[in-house]
């Protein structure tokens, strides 16, 4: 079983499932080269109509013979999974669909406490798929209400303050990057696109394999040369072969000081005991991250 938590939503998948698509508000998984599950979500204001969404799905997928179904028409394991979700405050309405080549089962989910609305569907190729679908549905979690929000992806996990919003991310062989953004005016968080205006970037990175990357140079030299948001020369890096950190002002001038546009930077980079990787957490922007919050974030960033 592998746990995936992404942008406030979590799912634990059976062994062998792999993410085939990762979006800001969506995940898709495949198993043995076939699609296994798709999940999309959004936060909606006000009331949520299941019937309206099922009707919209039916209209948009006329070739798939999609129908909303009651709990008495779904497999027993699926019904039990929905009951588990109901206990955690998530309401649901199921649907089934069938095409010439495959069939599927899914549900529209809504958490009235947070406004999270999600659409999840599973592709059913055999009986095991049906059992996996129910087991996976039962693990659906809404983490968006907490003061801190976790994320877990590709064997890494961390926990961040809820004011940070997911900005950009990439998972390339050898280099993973996940960037978050916290606007200076937290109240305007919903109005501005992530990364725009004054605020603070929070960047998680993972480089591997460390044994190859650090073969010819110490960690501090490597960090200065290769980290995407390495500190400028004016900021001193303190560290040794296993960990390094810095904290200082990256850009300042009289004009920047008057306009309150001084850029602060803070970062930690370290090699892991297991996993042969280099992890780094960097914040930079107009607001310096409080030391304790930054330390908590760094300590939460680790291998699952």
């Amino acid at each position: 079983m592998a746990e995936f938590i992404w942008n406030g939503v979590g799912l634990t998948t059976p062994d062998g499932w792999e993410p085939s698509a990762i979006e800001r508000d969506g995940l898709a998984f495949e198993n043995n080269d076939r699609p296994a599950c798709e999940l999309k979500w959004n936060v909606v204001q006000g009331s949520f109509s299941f019937d309206k969404h099922i009707k919209r799905l039916t209209k948009g997928h006329k070739n798939a013979a999609l129908n909303g179904v009651g709990e008495d028409e779904t497999p027993p394991a699926w019904t039990i999974a929905l009951e588990k979700l109901a206990q955690s405050g998530i309401r649901a309405k199921s649907f089934i669909w069938q095409t010439d080549v495959t069939r599927g089962i899914g549900a529209t989910l809504h958490n009235p406490a947070t406004g999270l609305a999600a659409l999840i569907q599973f592709f059913i190729h055999n009986e095991q798929d049906a059992a996996d679908a129910a087991a996976t549905l039962a693990t659906f979690r809404d983490y968006s209400a907490g003061k801190t929000i976790p994320w877990a992806m590709f064997g890494l996990k961390a926990r961040i303050h809820s004011e940070f919003r997911l900005d950009t991310f990439s998972f390339k062989p050898g280099h993973y990057t996940i960037k978050y953004w916290r606007p200076k005016a937290v109240k305007k968080a919903g109005q501005l696109p992530a990364g725009k205006g004054p605020g603070t970037h929070l960047i998680f990175e993972r480089y591997a394999p460390a044994s190859v990357l650090l073969k010819d140079k110490p960690l501090t030299d490597w960090a200065l040369e290769y980290l995407e948001d390495a500190p400028p020369e004016s900021v001193e890096i303190i560290g040794d072969d296993t960990a390094a950190l810095w904290n200082g002002i990256a850009k300042t001038s009289l004009l920047r000081a008057i306009l309150r546009r001084t850029i602060y930077t803070q970062g930690r980079v370290w090699t892991t005991d297991g996993g042969n990787a280099i992890l780094s957490v960097i914040t930079h922007g107009h607001v310096p991250a409080p030391e304790q919050i930054f330390t908590d974030i760094c300590e939460s960033y680790e291998f699952v």
Binding site: E18, N32, D33, F154, G155, P173, G174, A208, P209, S211, V212, K215, G274, G275, N276, A277
Partner: protein
């Protein structure tokens, strides 16, 4: 001239991973500093280029030899190519040795095999 090119045949991922890379017998490896290796391989000359190069006296029909230096991970992967291990087995060994994610190893190994395969250094069976 403007005829649409036929799309290249594609095979499913699992089938591609089960293929076995085989070294070109014409390729020679030479150890270099740091435990790395350098490959020398005959350059596949396109027929039209060969005719042209011969006519202008640039080529005497002897095979042109090119060299390619592999980095540490390339050397490790090259060492695993023995005509018996499949791409999947090589990726598994790579993931185990470098402690990276299986999918990450798969992408790295397939990219390496594709790159050196395009140079005619190996084939797939």
């Amino acid at each position: 001239m403007f005829k649409k090119k036929a799309p290249l045949p594609t095979i499913p991922r699992s089938e591609a991973l089960n293929m076995v890379p085989v070294r070109n017998l014409e390729v020679h490896e030479h150890p270099i500093d740091g435990g790395l290796i350098q490959l020398s391989y005959p350059l596949a000359v396109k027929p039209w280029f060969g005719v042209l190069a011969e006519k202008v006296g640039m080529w005497d029909k002897r095979p042109m030899i090119k060299t390619l230096e592999l980095d540490e991970m390339g050397t490790f992967t090259w060492g695993l190519i023995n005509g018996e291990r499949s791409v999947r087995q090589i990726a598994d060994e790579f993931a185990k040795f470098y402690e990276v994610q299986p999918r990450e190893a798969e992408l790295s190994v397939t990219a390496f095999i594709k790159t050196i395969g395009q140079r005619g250094i190996l084939g797939l069976k």
